[in-house]
Point group: C2
Chain length 223, copies 2
DNA sequence: GCCGCATGTCGTCAGTTGACGACATTTTTA
DNA sequence: TAAAAATGTCGTCAACTGACGACATGCGGC
């Protein structure tokens, strides 16, 4: 964001000598760029400059355009990896193991989700994209989230021997009670720079406890 | 890159025929600019161009600099009005009226909060600012929110004849269970463009019901 | 009427920024 | 080992963008 005074001094004009600007195979360089770009756009937003990104990669700006036709294409790939990637894991399986208590299942899942998905990098990229109307793959995420939300509501209702709501939209919204509270915890900590005084493990347990205990009230309230 | 706000301004102010915008008194023009700017920066982010904003106002870009020394100063004032403004209202009072049921108090409050504060404009401005590390007045908001969170936890605990947690940080975090769930509902609807199939009134009631019913579990869970 | 000033615009400067042609250097291959 | 291919940089263009000096214009007071 500040002066790019980091601009290399009298770089080795033709002599190899000291500077080891080693040449990387195409795939490897591409990988490095994508990794740096995820970090970079997450930090400075989608309007971050390609020159700055190149500097962060330690390469010339021109080289970026040897790998991606334009900035948007690079960002699309960053998005696909960093946002969609973490969702690939199907940890959903454990959620339906009724040999384990519902509280433990939910706590374990969200402990994992918080650490693997709701990171600073992920949240910033996601929010920048959403604010820019970046409809990048919201459907994909929506599909996975819908399944998750239905699962946690179904399982929690089963615990109480309750019949889940018939309206699928409303049913998922009940799941958002827990999912939203934990997502917002991550947003507060990573985006709003709220205090980290209470360890998140303790809070996830509390949110899960409230969700499970509050489920009957949410459903009965509908009478 | 392309049309960020490329919308040619429509007719001036009706009257005055073909001639350009009528001349406004300084205070009035300033007001108009601030109103438009809130809308504008909320929509296009803090990197929105002053030329586009001027066009939206129907004035020349130069004129903006007759009212504000620079872009940042204008944004700071927009922020103070649009973000801080809605917090001024002290609807907190009703929350402690124990003649009314806790569910009704919380529902009424959050119904109001959702409609008056958690609007699309407010959320977008707030998020853009937070992502840009805009430490603009987070303290002021924090102070009000802290009071709010403590109040709703105190009142809900009172309902259950429970002693609120001694640790003030943890106590506030419990309040975030409800506040976060509702904030995230607004974020989903206004920022993520999630579905609006279920009316928010119904969801606020559900979240409140879960919060109130789940409070004992959150506290006992600490054993 | 016409003076003076607040209101408002035009044009431009200097720094930015995405994109890319031309060229240089290293590695692979026949 | 020389040519081809791959890897990489320099320099530049055109559009963008915040900022502002110079100038124009409507309006109230006398």
């Amino acid at each position: 964001m500040q002066a790019r005074s980091a601009k290399l001094k009298k770089a080795p004009k033709h002599k190899k000598s000291t500077k080891t600007n080693l040449r990387l195979p195409r795939a490897e360089r591409r990988e490095q760029i994508l990794t740096q770009a995820a970090e970079f756009f997450s930090e400075y937003g989608l309007t971050g400059q390609t020159r700055e990104l190149a500097a962060a990669c330690g390469i010339s700006q021109r080289l970026l355009y040897r790998f991606f036709p334009n900035k948007a294409a690079l960002q699309a790939e960053v998005y696909a990896r960093t946002i969609l990637g973490p969702f690939e894991g199907a940890w959903l399986g454990n959620l339906t193991d009724r040999n384990v208590s519902i509280n433990e299942r939910l706590t374990t899942f969200y402990e994992n989700y918080y650490n693997k998905v709701l990171t600073r990098k992920w949240l910033r990229l996601f929010l920048y994209s959403a604010l820019a109307e970046g409809d990048m793959a919201p459907n994909y995420i929506a599909a996975i989230l819908m399944k998750l939300l239905e699962t946690i509501v179904d399982e929690t209702c089963f615990e109480h021997s309750l019949r889940p709501p018939d309206d699928p939209d409303f049913k998922r919204e009940l799941g958002w009670n827990l999912h939203g509270a934990i997502s917002h915890l991550a947003i507060r900590r990573h985006i709003y720079h709220g205090p980290h005084t209470v360890p998140h493990e303790r809070l996830i347990k509390a949110h899960v406890a409230s969700f499970v205990a509050g489920m009957p009230a949410m459903i009965e309230n509908e009478a």
